[in-house]
Amino acid sequence: MENKKCEGCSECNKDPDMEKILSEYKQEKDNLIQILNEVQEHYGYIPEHAQKAISEYLSIPMAEIYGVVTFYSRFTLKPKGKYHIAVCLGTACFVKGSEKILDRVKERLKIDVGETTKDGKFSLEATRCIGACGLAPVFTVNGEVYGKATVKMMDEVLDKFIAEN
């Protein structure tokens, strides 16, 4: 179906938050990644309407924006879970056994890296070095760092959040 009535004004999908973000930037293409970083921060992911708004604002085809979004691992296309668990797989943490901790989360939540549980409660990420090597191995939940972690510690953390309503 050709959308005959649409005049391409995009009035229908205007989002004031998005407009506010864009208004802080000049219409220059090199701002793309800065804007995406802010969108990711604001929404927790990069929604489609944001990509469209950026495409129009910076005159960049959507395929290119999508190409940039999928290139950088910080940008995600799906919302994260209520509890976002990130297990560090940097070398220092790896050498100290962080893989076992990651495996434990996968096993218990039955999700793989980059996925969110069906109820939207947990999402899992394997991060590169977050710079807390002195506390290796580490994982974070919504940014809060759990250092010198063990499988047991992860179990306790998961138990706590699972029990929560």
């Binding site: 050709e2 959308n3 005049e7 489609e48 960049i60 959507m62 395929a63 999508y66 190409g67």
Partner: protein
């Protein structure tokens, strides 16, 4: 001049020459895959690596320029092994179903596999699998065959200025994709098909139209009529190994008859109608204060581009259909009535250099007779494929003429197939109509040639018309921006979606990267069209006797009511991305 040594032999080349070009001069080929001259020059595939004395690592011969005294070796065991490794790696992640591939025999990767004598698949491992996108009426995208050379991306983004596809994801998961992997049908693709021309393998191809044509040919109830665009006859021979720029009109007509078409007509006649209508429309706008500049509308990829990107300029677009659609309408109305054929039984097949015409056929308002103007569109390549399927020995075929009464067309129509041709043809008619007498000028050199944008001022006995000719959609965008910003001081604009015009259309024979770099393909094909024009007895559309007859007997005045009903169409803004 720069002198260097390649494989021990002295070579002299101009400054600024790449190592690859210099080697070619010395009769040494360096294999390439991602390289597409002036379009995709990034040196990513690593096939073209060579050794340069004193340099650490390999040099990238497709990009790196020669230097005085440079010592290059193109075929050391280390170089051959590196290239071979690159080839092995590409093959390890490629859908190797050559037998069932459209590009069997014309694939650049297949050719390299043959040249390197690949007799085993060295690396086995994971392969990227992707859904084939065949939703659009024009293009099929099969990522399983993609080798990530990005020639299509560069063509779409940098030559055409569209960016419908781009590289997404990263590393081994990298893909060439649309936004969110949507169908090309639902994004800003114009169906120009230049990506197909750029693809070295079978990852991009036209949507097949031959099956429907074979079916119609086998249907006794159907009266199957072929019409062929001007650019087809100067390229079809290439599919059978003939020289670029050979006019194979006679053999083409013969082969269509062999295939069983009931009639074979010339779309050039349709082009003459287009000139009559477009010239009339222009004169009307020019003299009566209509919306100017007027933009030509015979290139459906271009029309779609405008609808997607500049809906506010729709009023500038000529309402004329493209030649084959006009001609289809004439066949299904005037011709059908004249010959007592039920138009519902007529099956019009357009043989076109274009894949956007496949989409155009399905547009609204292309059925003024009550029937679809055109029932199937096949490209030059697909016609060649049908000829091969039928095992017709094309090269030794006798010549035949187009069928009467729609066979005879003017020289003006022939040059429709190249950039500037529509403008030149139109000016021949406009000049006479405006000046009111027989205006002698036939050749408008200013609008000829391969440049992306050509500007000219035409003096019509004191009345000045400023014209612009642009080909390639990036150039089109430049012109549209000028119009939008009010900077345009011209009145008439010809635009063709494909750089160089229809001779370089997305449905034409695919030439290799090397041929594109070393042969003036556009120039040769266009020269053949200009030669047809030159040899024509009638070179102005309004002097075509068939047209005069049809206007007199059936259509009435050019631009009149009946003509509008059959030969004109309408446009509407289109969403660039049909998001969920």
């Amino acid at each position: 001049m720069v002198s260097l040594t390649i494989n021990g032999r002295k070579v002299e080349v101009e400054e600024g020459t790449t190592i690859l070009e210099a080697a070619r001069k010395a009769s040494i080929d360096i294999p390439t895959l991602c390289f597409l001259k002036d379009i995709n020059e990034f040196g990513d595939c690593r096939m073209c690596v060579v050794e340069v004395e004193g340099r650490r690592g390999f040099a990238t011969s497709c990009i790196q320029k020669v230097e005085e005294g440079m010592v290059v070796r193109t075929n050391t065991p280390a170089v051959i092994e590196a290239r071979r490794t690159v080839l092995d790696l590409i093959l390890s992640n490629h859908d190797r179903d050559c037998l069932t591939c459209t590009r069997n025999g014309t694939c650049e990767l297949q050719k390299l596999a043959e040249e390197f004598y690949v007799n085993e698949i060295k690396y086995k491992g994971e392969r990227n699998k992707h859904q084939i996108d065949d939703k659009s009426p024009s293009i099929v995208r099969d990522f399983n065959k993609c080798i990530l050379c990005r020639r299509c991306v560069a063509t779409c983004k940098n030559v055409q200025g569209i960016g419908a596809i781009d590289c997404t994801e990263r590393g081994f998961s990298s893909t060439i994709s649309t936004y969110n992997d949507m169908s090309l049908n639902d994004v800003n693709c114009t169906f120009c098909g230049q990506c197909i021309e750029a693809c070295p393998v079978g990852a991009l191809r036209e949507k097949d139209g031959t099956a429907a044509v074979w079916e119609a040919l086998g249907d006794e109830d159907k009266y199957v009529i072929a019409q062929t665009a001007p650019a087809v006859r100067v390229a079809l021979g290439e599919e059978f190994g003939m020289e670029i720029g050979t006019n194979v009109k006679g053999k083409m007509v013969s082969s269509l008859k062999h295939l069983g078409f009931d009639k074979v007509f010339d779309t050039n006649t349709g082009a003459d109608f287009t000139i009559m209508e477009e010239a009339t429309e222009f004169i009307d706008r020019f003299t009566n204060g209509g919306t100017l500049p007027m933009l030509t509308s015979c290139s459906p990829g271009w029309v779609r581009f405008l609808e997607l990107n500049y809906p506010e300029l729709i009023p500038n677009l000529s309402s004329c259909k493209s030649p084959h659609q006009m001609f289809g309408a004439i066949i299904k109305s005037y011709y059908a009535r004249k010959n007592n054929i039920d138009p519902s039984k007529i099956f019009v097949v357009s043989v076109m250099p274009c894949i956007a015409k496949k989409y155009e056929r399905t547009r609204d308002d292309e059925n003024g007779t009550g029937y679809d103007d055109v029932d199937a569109v096949i490209t030059t390549r697909e016609l060649a494929r049908m000829i091969k399927q039928a095992h017709i020995n094309f090269k030794t075929l006798e010549d035949s003429e187009f069928d009467d009464p729609m066979g005879e067309a003017t020289g003006a129509a022939a040059i429709f197939g190249t950039t500037g041709g529509v403008m030149e043809a139109a000016l021949r008619t406009v000049a006479e109509k405006v000046t009111g007498n027989s205006f002698g000028k036939l050749e408008y050199e200013d609008v000829r040639g391969g440049q992306g944008i050509k500007r000219a001022i035409i003096d019509l006995n004191g009345k000045e018309v400023k014209v612009v000719v642009a080909s390639g959609l990036k150039n089109a965008r430049t012109i549209l921006e000028e119009i939008k910003s009010g900077k345009a001081d011209y009145q008439f604009v010809e635009i063709m979606a494909c750089p160089g015009g229809c001779v370089m259309g997305g449905g034409q024979p695919i030439r290799t990267s090397k041929e594109r770099a070393t042969i003036d393909i556009r120039g040769k094909r266009a020269a053949a069209l200009y030669s047809i024009d030159e040899k024509s007895t009638i070179r102005k559309s309004h002097e075509n006797p068939i047209l005069k007859k049809i206007y007199a007997e059936y259509l009435g005045e050019p631009g009149g009511h009946k003509a509008h009903e059959l030969l004109h169409t309408s446009y509407s803004p289109k969403e660039k991305y049909r998001l969920g």
